[in-house]
């Protein structure tokens, strides 16, 4: 047993829901986006555009809700612990992560054999997650630059003028989508390659036993197999 325990405190139910909304929005936005980029089959453009716009707004709203909730809802700032603190702290620098960036990179590159200690999110993971809201803002902004009714509004029109026209904005919007695609691939891979326990927690809110970590002493202090349920 090398994993830390996965407790519900790490991912409170509201965040499981926002994660589901993010997943659905982003997947449908990518699919409809590809269709709008080039209509690979017939009879779907009106629906594709409707979904793309609607879910685009939903993604931004969901992102805002997720950030606001993180200021109020408490979650466990480290895995393998039921102790909770304000959720936003999981996305800010934590003592548990200090000096561990190199360790994570070395671990991923197989240079380091042992799993680095850290908070709920490892250093590269935390950087990636913290970048997502900015990426969502940027993709939504360029999206509104392309949407005809908003493309003439001040900041959107100014952006189109700055980059050299709607065609260039389209390419920027398209490239950001690919950043999302690569993020999802990386995210899904890293979240499942060492076992499905994290995915079961995130999608089904299912707990999983494992090592116990202390946020006070910043180290592993024991093991918890959840009443002898499956390891």
């Amino acid at each position: 047993m090398a994993h830390l325990a996965h407790y519900r405190q790490a991912h409170p139910l509201p965040f499981v829901i926002t994660h589901w909304i993010n997943l659905i929005c982003i997947l449908v936005l990518i699919f409809t986006g590809f269709y709008i980029h080039f209509p690979y089959f017939s009879g779907f453009m009106g629906v594709a555009r409707g979904l793309h716009l609607g879910l685009g707004y939903l993604l931004v709203i969901n992102c805002a809700v997720r950030i606001i909730l993180s200021l109020f809802i408490k979650s466990a700032p480290t895995a393998g612990s039921r102790e909770v603190d304000r959720d936003i702290k999981s996305f800010l620098p934590q003592k548990d992560n200090r000096h561990q960036f190199g360790a994570w990179i070395k671990y991923y590159l197989f240079i380091k054999k042992e799993h680095p200690l850290g908070a709920k999110y490892g250093v590269p993971q935390k950087l990636a997650y913290a970048a997502i809201p900015f990426l969502i803002l940027l993709v939504a902004f360029t999206g509104l630059c392309l949407y005809a009714p908003t493309s003439v509004v001040g900041p959107f029109a100014a952006f189109n003028g700055l980059v050299g026209g709607v065609m260039v904005t389209r390419i920027i919007h398209y490239c950001i989508m690919w950043v999302f695609i690569i993020f999802i691939a990386l995210h899904a891979y890293l979240a499942t390659i060492e076992g499905l326990a994290p995915a079961k927690m995130m999608f089904g809110w299912k707990e999983h036993g494992g090592l116990v970590y202390s946020p006070e002493t910043h180290t592993i202090i024991g093991e918890d197999d959840l009443d002898g349920k499956d390891h």
């Binding site: 047993m1 090398a2 830390l4 980029h37 080039f38 209509p39 017939s42 453009m45 009106g46 594709a48 555009r49 039921r82 003592k95 548990d96 000096h99 561990q100 360790a103 671990y107 991923y108 197989f110 042992e114 799993h115 680095p116 200690l117 005809a148 003439v152 003028g161 050299g164 026209g165 709607v166 065609m167 260039v168 389209r170 390419i171 398209y174 490239c175 690919w178 695609i181 690569i182 691939a185 990386l186 891979y189 390659i193 060492e194 076992g195 326990a197 090592l211 116990v212 202390s214 002493t217 910043h218 180290t219 592993i220 202090i221 024991g222 093991e223 918890d224 197999d225 959840l226 009443d227």
Partner: protein
């Protein structure tokens, strides 16, 4: 009132000599009114203004106009001046005194150059310059010489005393076809050229030294739409002021809406009915040309409303995808609509990285593919190192802690290394109790 009636009679006689009925003239006035973005109810006003001006100006007060042709295919002249029968447009042409036009003037050579010189001297600050084609700056300006003079010098001289400059067609706006990569002749638009010259201290607008360059009206498209040109001239000459311009100095009313939004094929777009190949059944049905690379969705122009060839048809209506000729942008250095929109029959433009030209989609799919391969390879590595079943064992303490015991992050001794089986069991029990408490 009596004066206007006399004028109308006089004007009708003029129309008659040119084989134009009053009815057609009023229709034309209606079209001009719409191009100007005015209510069609104002068409009689426009008609009256034209009548008054044609009659008035016939008495020697015509507005002097110089039509300069630079690096061009003469398509704009053709577009503006082609007359199959005496057309109402020719009547409007009598609003102006076209003192210099290489293609249209009866004179040529020395006498024509003299006419230009005289206009510039005698009507300084009064004449309007219509420019067709790109200016060539290459080879110290020798890439384009007219009447043994460098075109760059002519433009500088002519602009200094112009009342306004109308850039007719996309080449005069941003260099157009001539400015497309690799642009060896240094083609450029008029507005960017004059701005650069002003910045370099080589140009002064003598009519009004408080402004950098003369008022410029950019009327792109390839060729320029005669309806647009007539509307702009009517605006400048009759209304006596410049039309409302956007940040590219294009008349807002003509270049304010996406072609896509007024397209007659728009319904097919929304229904997802696309032409995927020329000569196909879908093309015969008049489906949307989006999949063939139509640039209507990102090009602003009122083509679908004004149309071309005396309002008969226009590109998309005739079955050709829009190539975005109205997207000429005079504000970006080294930017032109041809590079922006090529390949014309593809959904997005090409990206140029050094000498390599590729589509963003190819590039993105390539990077995505590399990422996928890297992840799969990494997955095999994870499998080989036995990390796929719960990951590697955790380090007992951070490397930093081991090196800096005095500044260690962990405040307890490395538990895993120290713990015995008994201790682990004790911890488990303690955890179970805590859990019970939670429930």
């Amino acid at each position: 009132m009596a004066r206007i009636e006399t004028q109308a009679v006089e004007f009708d006689a003029l129309l008659k000599t040119r084989g134009v009925t009053r009815r057609r003239f009023l229709e034309f006035c209606g079209a001009v009114t719409v191009s100007l973005g005015l209510s069609e109810a104002l068409a009689p006003k426009v008609a009256e203004a034209i009548e008054e001006n044609v009659i008035g100006k016939a008495k020697g007060k015509l507005a002097p106009v110089l039509w300069l042709e630079l690096a061009s295919c003469t398509g704009c002249t053709e577009s503006f001046a082609q007359v199959e029968t005496p057309d109402v447009a020719t009547v409007v042409l009598e609003l102006i005194s076209l003192n210099y036009a290489e293609t249209l003037s009866a004179g040529a050579g020395y006498s024509l150059e003299l006419a230009k010189k005289q206009t510039m001297e005698e009507a300084a600050g009064e004449y309007i310059v219509i420019i067709e084609g790109a200016l060539m700056e290459g080879w110290e300006g020798n890439a384009l010489r007219i009447a043994n003079e460098k075109a760059v010098d002519i433009i500088r001289e002519v602009s200094a005393n112009a009342k306004a400059i109308v850039c007719a067609g996309s080449c005069a706006v941003d260099g157009g076809w001539q400015a497309a990569v690799p642009n060896p002749g240094g083609a450029t638009g008029i507005e960017p050229f004059l701005k650069r010259e002003k910045a370099a201290g080589r140009f002064t607008y003598e009519v009004d030294p408080t402004v950098d360059i003369p008022p410029i009206i950019n009327v792109p498209t390839c060729p320029s739409n005669p309806e647009h040109l007539v509307a702009v001239l009517v605006d400048v000459l009759l209304v006596g002021k410049l039309p409302e311009l956007d940040s590219h100095n294009k008349p807002t009313l003509m270049f304010g809406e996406y072609i896509h939004d007024n397209c007659p094929r728009r319904g097919h777009f929304e229904n997802g009915e696309f032409v995927r190949q020329f000569g196909s059944e879908e093309e015969r049905k008049g489906y949307c040309l989006y999949a063939l690379g139509c640039k209507g969705p990102q090009t602003k122009n009122n083509c679908p409303i004004v149309r071309w060839n005396r309002r008969v048809s226009w590109c998309v209506e005739a079955g050709a995808p829009c190539i975005g000729c109205a997207s000429a942008d005079p504000t970006k250095a080294g930017f032109n609509w041809v590079d922006l929109n090529t390949p014309f029959f593809n959904r997005v433009k090409n990206l140029k990285i050094g000498d390599i030209i590729l589509q963003p989609a190819t590039l993105a799919a390539g990077i995505g593919g590399i990422a996928a391969i890297a992840l799969i390879a990494h997955g095999f590595g994870m499998k080989a190192t036995g990390r796929t079943k719960g990951g590697a064992d955790f380090e007992s303490e951070r490397k930093w802690d081991a090196k800096h015991p005095d500044k260690a992050i962990a405040t307890a001794p490395a538990a895993q290394a120290a713990k015995s089986t008994q201790e682990a069991e004790a911890a488990e029990e303690a955890d179970e109790q805590t859990e019970g408490g939670d429930q």
